[in-house]
């Protein structure tokens, strides 16, 4: 991939775009034609509990070596022990389909709050043998969600509740050792929330981004900078189709074009990008992909222009890949947005850190987030710690470097919605430093 540079009065100089070795690791998220045979979600919870419990059992001897480990049914009153199970958070404000049928309609507020946390929420620990309510002030229910597996040290009280004295999370998973740092700067650009087809999309803004990245803008310095970009990731919500058209009624031929316009426009832009560098496009909540996680790759027939290039990669959501041996893991935002609805933290980065500590990418699936009912595995378990963990479609750009107890270091990135902020994120592979790339088309400064 070459970028031509016109020097004043001289012959054009050719700049080569740098390349990085890419390996796609999305196989665990692909459905592979698995059919839904009417099974329920109990199988995912079973495999999740089994895997995490074995993991926690191996960590318990180092944590509290002298205490017995019990199942919930084997709890004895006033005897200190350790139990391992899945947390269930009973939430008062959690919307339930049964509320529509309840007699006291005034109980449920008509305006849906964005956050369903209530001071009366309480936690319950569950394993195959039974469940027990958790008491004590150590665990703050607003920091937890249903679906995570933890080990608890405590004892059963006379009321039949479990008084928690201490808690053990799995902690950050081990990291495949980071390769020695590269000698040259190589950049990866992340963008999300383009929302082509919505009223907030500004075509000029995105065209600016594309031109800048492909090297059609700026002088030699700018173009040198652009030639160091090795990969482009679009983290979800690339199109937005007018909801009014999707109400099930037949669409008049003249309206049919409004359905396909956004995707055609996206294809044209992707064509320009794919001609210049490898592009990964992930599906998001508003894209024409399946609703439940893991979202399958956007069909290549949607992008007749761009899919002709072998640099165009349609990936799943969540997306896992490797660039020059650096491990990347990311989603289009549904996991963090759901955590935001059902728990509290000081910022989105803290939610991301929690998912890593719990070693589960989407802890609230299948409870409040749609998920495919796998029978033999839970693909969202995080087995090895990525070097870069990104989440798309957030409100603002945030980043931090998280350090683990076992020498792990992860770059956490919250990618903002491009249609609202005009900000894309650039990551330097050499030192994992991040900065924002901001585009604006407004003439008033």
């Amino acid at each position: 991939m070459r970028v031509d540079v016109e020097m004043s009065g001289g012959s054009p100089k050719l700049l080569e775009r740098k390349q990085a070795v890419y390996r796609n690791l999305d196989e665990r998220y692909e459905i592979h034609g698995e059919k839904y045979k009417g099974q329920q979600y109990s199988h995912i919870y079973f495999t999740r509990l089994h895997y995490m419990r074995n993991l926690l059992y191996s960590l318990v001897p180092k944590w509290k070596p002298n205490l017995p480990v019990n199942t919930v049914l084997g709890l004895e009153e006033e005897k200190e022990c350790i139990i391992v199970g899945t947390i269930y958070k009973h939430m008062k404000l959690k919307p339930s389909i049964l509320d529509e049928y309840s007699k006291e309609r005034s109980k449920v507020p008509l305006a849906k709050p964005h956050n369903f946390v209530h001071p009366d929420d309480h936690l319950i620990l569950e394993d195959e043998s039974g469940r027990v309510k958790l008491a004590g002030s150590l665990l703050d229910p607003s920091a937890f969600v249903t679906g995570i597996v933890v080990a608890l040290h405590g004892k059963e009280t006379s009321e039949g509740k479990f008084f928690v004295l201490d808690m053990l999370e799995a902690g950050l998973p081990p990291q495949i050792k980071q390769p020695p740092s590269l000698t040259e700067d190589k950049f990866v650009v992340f963008v999300s929330g383009l929302s082509i087809g919505s009223s907030t999309f500004n075509p000029l803004q995105f065209q600016l981004l594309v031109d800048h990245i492909t090297g059609h803008l700026g002088d030699e310095n700018e173009q040198t900078f652009a030639s160091q970009i090795v990969h482009f990731i679009i983290a979800g919500n690339s199109v937005q189709i007018l909801q009014g058209l999707l109400n099930g009624q037949t669409i008049a031929p003249r309206d049919q074009s409004t359905l396909t316009e956004p995707i055609k426009e996206l294809d044209i832009l992707l064509n320009q990008l794919a001609a210049a560098m490898p592009v990964d496009i992930m599906p998001g909540p508003s894209d024409p992909a399946n609703f439940s996680l893991p979202q399958q790759p956007l069909n290549r027939c949607l992008f007749p222009g761009a899919s002709a290039y072998n640099t165009f990669i349609s990936s799943t959501n969540p997306h896992q890949f490797e660039l020059d041996d650096i491990q990347f893991l990311g989603t289009s935002g549904q996991n963090i947005d759901d955590l935001f609805k059902y728990s509290e933290a000081k910022n989105k980065l803290e939610f991301m850190e929690r998912t890593l500590r719990w070693r589960h990418l989407v802890p609230t699936a299948p409870n409040t987030l749609g998920c495919f009912p796998f029978t033999d595995r839970d693909p969202f378990l995080i087995e090895s710690c990525p070097h870069v963990y990104f989440v798309g479609n957030q409100d603002k750009y945030e980043t931090t470097l998280l350090r683990g107890s076992d020498n792990q270091s992860v770059r956490l990135i919250c990618i903002p919605k491009f249609c609202e902020t005009g900000v894309a994120v650039m990551l330097n592979l050499r030192n994992l430093e991040c900065h924002a790339l901001s585009f604006s088309t407004s003439l008033n400064v």
């Binding site: 329920q40 079973f46 089994h50 029978t375 033999d376």
Partner: protein
């Protein structure tokens, strides 16, 4: 053994009806605990060998038209160690248990793979089509 437990159980019930003394109530309570723990409702099968659930009240009178193989497979269905049984064929559940390292009995797999004929064990779990 099952019949012995039943006798013990019925005897205690009679005493309770009299509105018995505290001593007999506590004795009955402690004795009552034993059959419930070994009788096997929703047991884990984690440490002790699981007592057959379907034999809890000692009768073989429910044999219908299935054989011993089917009985063993039903025990496999009910064993909580290998996870939920509804929604999977028995073979799939066996394969899942095997890949999770739970070491299900190997001869069950042979039973399932050579299923044929009228008296053969069912490939689907016990509750398939019934719940």
């Amino acid at each position: 053994m099952a019949s012995g437990d039943i006798k013990g159980f019925y005897r205690q019930k009679k005493k309770q009806q009299k509105g018995g003394i505290t001593k007999s109530v506590s004795a009955s309570a402690s004795k009552k605990k034993k059959p419930s723990k070994s009788g096997g409702s929703a047991t884990l099968g984690a440490t002790d060998p699981q007592t057959p659930v379907l034999f809890a009240h000692g009768a073989f009178d429910l044999t219908d038209d299935y054989g011993e193989d089917e009985e063993r497979l039903r025990q496999f269905d009910m064993d909580m160690r290998y996870g939920p049984c509804i929604g999977l064929t028995r073979l799939q559940r066996w394969e899942r248990a095997s890949s999770m390292g739970l070491q299900p009995p190997a001869d069950l797999r042979n039973l399932l793979s050579r299923a044929s004929g009228p008296k053969s064990p069912d490939l689907e779990c016990l509750w398939e089509g019934r719940v």
